[in-house]
């Protein structure tokens, strides 16, 4: 697989390590009323879709940035690559706005 890094261009996926579903960016609030349940779900439960999957990859042997890669789990085709930082900012803005 080739990951088209937003800053560095196309890179071999072997330079990266994989973490998992990009929902891991959205850590629950530790003081929320249902924190125990929310952290349980956050850490252990997954949508695990067959099809488009947004997931976190770490450019360990490169610029050490975290990326959010949109990849089809049935074909391995990668359709979108974003900096995880940008995704987190958008998520945060949506949260604050809501």
């Amino acid at each position: 697989m080739i990951i088209n890094h937003p800053l560095l261009g196309p890179r071999d996926a072997q330079e990266f390590t994989y973490l998992g579903d990009a929902s891991l960016i959205n850590r629950p609030y530790w003081l929320s009323e249902n924190a125990l349940r929310e952290f349980h779900d956050y850490l252990h439960l997954r949508d695990n879709p067959a099809g488009l999957h947004r997931e976190l990859w770490f450019h360990e042997q490169g610029d050490r940035s975290w990326l959010v890669v949109t990849r089809d789990t049935t074909t391995h085709e990668i359709t979108k690559v974003e900096l995880a930082r940008d995704v987190a900012r958008v998520n945060r803005a949506a949260e604050v706005g809501a």
Partner: protein, 416 residues
């Protein structure tokens, strides 16, 4: 039809014209007492034991493709009872005991071969871990022997003993472990279940559940609605997809695992060898092919095929352990979709929906579990209580803190 030597001679003399199909190909009825989703090893074994041991009546197995087309027909066929933790080892020991009597029980040649499994160690720390695991195995009624370098050399003189980085310092030998002809397991259970009245319905994909007031009433399928009092889901790599139709999210990710087989060679590896310093394990099939594999590819996948980096990793590890491997040509490689759980251990449990039961999360090790998983799932379906060897396989164990993490890796499926 019963298989026997007498029958074989009779058929040999009459042109093998009397062998009928091994199971029927029935159309689905409107309703059953038990519907098992998934015609892999586990689903078929569940139906078999449900009918045979638990007097279950009106049972159907629904399979979206053909039986044996999933992981049961894609694995590297290793069976063993060499786990460390209390939640696991009694279960796998129960499974190995069922394997030992399986062929007589099924009247079917599944080529169960207890040729021994050797886990190599390369450091002092690994030897200590092997000794601890061996003791845990023996405490649970399994067998284990710790070999030193000479002991390993006597069995497998061709290994790379003096590798500068990873010298072989011994190994943990589990003599009752071995291999089984994987397709024959699916076929044997299918035939046994069919003989006891189970309907095995192929080309029948489950596309939804009918759930009312928190109770399951049946399943929607590509061949119409089928009513059921109890539904058992046993679909391995498709677990998340199927349970999502019941509105559930699981502690499971689907990952691809690859395997490889070489051209046929004269017998040279009598047992199963696992490398302690790389992702590689190997055995030799009765046809002579070297059957080997390594680690999962490490990212979510439903593609049933892997990528080249893992191919390279497995072959490199293999070459560093068995240099002679380089002379063999690779015949085929393939992949299967693993239901990787968050602690590397499986689930055999009820769900919060009345009448809906789940068996899955078997990671890359569910083949050896086939008999016991079938038995324990049938026990749960019939009695609503877990079998005594499967009490730890709960879906809520991450909430209650009772994880069964053999490797101590935490909630990271790609590392289990």
């Amino acid at each position: 039809m019963k298989y026997s030597a007498f029958r074989l001679i009779k058929e040999a003399l009459t042109g093998h014209k009397g062998w009928g199909p091994q199971w029927r190909d029935p159309d689905p009825h409107d309703a059953y007492d038990y519907v098992i989703i998934g015609g892999g090893g586990h689903g078929l074994a569940t139906a078999y034991y449900l009918a045979k041991e638990f007097n279950g009546a009106r049972i159907a197995v629904l399979e979206k493709g053909w039986i044996g087309g999933g992981n049961v027909g894609r694995n590297t066929t290793i069976i063993r009872s060499n786990y460390l933790l209390d939640g696991n080892e009694p279960f796998y020991e129960f499974s190995l005991k069922l394997w030992e009597g399986l062929e007589q029980d099924l009247n079917y040649n599944a080529m169960v071969s207890q040729r021994g499994i050797l886990n190599l160690v390369h450091t002092d720390a690994q030897r200590d871990a092997a000794r601890r695991r061996g003791n845990a195995m023996i405490l649970n009624g399994s067998d284990a022997e710790l070999l030193d370098t000479d002991g390993v050399r006597a069995m497998y003189p061709f290994l790379n003993f003096d590798n500068a980085r990873f010298p072989i310092k011994g190994g943990l030998l589990h003599r009752r472990g071995g291999t089984v002809r994987h397709d024959a397991v699916a076929w044997g259970y299918a035939r046994g279940a069919d003989q006891r009245g189970v309907d095995i319905i192929q080309n029948c994909e489950v596309t939804g559940f009918k759930i009312e007031n928190g109770r399951v009433l049946g399943v929607e399928t590509s061949r119409g609605f089928i009513g059921a009092k109890k539904v058992g889901v046993s679909v391995a790599g498709s677990s998340s997809r199927v349970m999502a139709m019941a509105g559930m999210r699981l502690p499971i990710e689907s990952h691809v695992l690859q395997a490889f087989v070489s051209e046929g060679l004269k017998p040279f590896i009598p047992g199963v060898i696992t490398y302690g310093a790389g992702h590689f394990y190997c055995s030799q099939s009765d046809k002579g092919g070297l059957v080997f594999g390594g680690d999962i590819d490490g990212y979510n996948s439903y593609a049933q095929r892997g990528n080249l980096p893992v191919v390279e990793d497995v072959i490199e590890s293999g070459m560093s352990l068995i240099p002679g491997l380089g002379r063999a040509r690779l015949l085929r490689s393939w992949g299967g979709i693993m239901d990787m759980s968050m602690d590397g251990s499986p689930f055999i449990d009820k769900t919060h929906i009345e009448g809906l039961y789940f068996n899955g999360g078997w990671c890359y090790g569910g083949f050896k579990a086939t008999p016991a998983a079938g038995y324990c799932f049938a026990h749960l379906l019939k009695t609503d209580r877990p079998h005594e060897t499967a009490t730890a396989y709960r879906l809520d164990r991450f909430m209650t803190g009772h994880m069964i993490d053999e490797k101590g890796q935490g909630a990271q499926p790609y590392l289990h």
